[in-house]
Symmetry: C2
Subunit: 183 residues, 2 copies
């Protein structure tokens, strides 16, 4: 059976080289941060963003517990300010939209900042870099956020970016994802 | 860059075992027939359907030229009659909607027979079998056919089937595809 989560990571890994620079734009509990940290290894660098202090605490503790490479910078700021922190071209970026699992459901990523953050992420991509963005349409804000991202990506110049969408069509509340690849 | 054509074949191959039985529901020039023939190998079997005699001729000649395994049955009939010919459970089926490349563009697959053929294909699937269906939305009948298939798949019971859609969102006329996996 198609495992979309496994497939999306597999597709993103094709863009990540050891020693590369990545960003987790929605740190949450840090699972993607850990994934990126391991993918780039000791010579690499990972920036991770979240507006909730508890996300930084959970992630720091996860990275320690999992003995992750010492290559992660945790940043307590909104992802749409990422360009203030990241000065290197990115080989990969990840967005996991929605709320912090186990956290306050009132604090979700918001369309108002998601799109500027995604634009920033795209502008930071190195040639052959990619952004992976997961949408959770099971709640209303998530559903709207996904539609908003889809319309935005549909307008991107195909000579510069290849924007793919992967979705289970007979499970409308399941997460789906976009892969945005720079040419 | 994501190569959707390569990815779809890669995903379908995960369902094909040497010695298995497959079907190419839209033979055309036989490229998918050849792909399936090689995937199941000498102990396997491939049924291929087309309503145009020229498709059977092109395919027979391609299989010979490429020295394909002797495991293909070419059938001159519409794919919606497939159940009259196929008696074994299928590990994989392929649909490449639209017209025969280089052939008569007035003869395209039609929504009236595409859906019955797809239903037949799904009913013939073995557990863990899969159907891959490519849509060409660059012409009007292709676009409508894709929407029709999408609506049909959205209604399928997720406990029986997992129906995925993979598409380049910023290239609306590019082919996209559905992967339908039986649980």
């Amino acid at each position: 059976m198609l495992d979309l989560l496994a497939l999306q990571k597999e597709l993103l890994l094709r863009h990540i080289r050891p020693g590369g620079v990545c960003a987790d734009f929605t740190m949450g509990n840090g699972h993607d941060t850990l994934f990126l940290s391991r993918a780039v290894g000791d010579g690499g660098k990972v920036y991770a963003f979240d507006i909730q202090p508890s996300a930084l605490e959970s992630t720091a503790s996860l990275l320690k517990r999992e003995n992750a490479p010492d290559n992660v910078t945790l940043i307590h700021d909104s992802h749409h300010n990422a360009a203030q922190y990241i000065k290197e071209p990115l080989c990969a970026g990840m967005f996991n939209l929605g709320w912090l699992p186990g956290g306050d459901k009132r604090i979700t990523t918001q369309r108002m900042t998601t799109l500027p953050a995604l634009q920033t992420a795209i502008s930071l991509l190195a040639p052959d870099g990619a952004v992976l963005l997961a949408v959770y349409p099971g709640h209303e804000e998530g559903r709207l956020e996904g539609e908003c991202v889809s319309s935005f990506l549909a307008e991107q110049d195909r000579r510069m970016l290849c924007c793919s969408r992967l979705q289970i069509v007979n499970s409308p509340t399941s997460p789906y994802f976009f892969l945005i690849e720079k040419k």
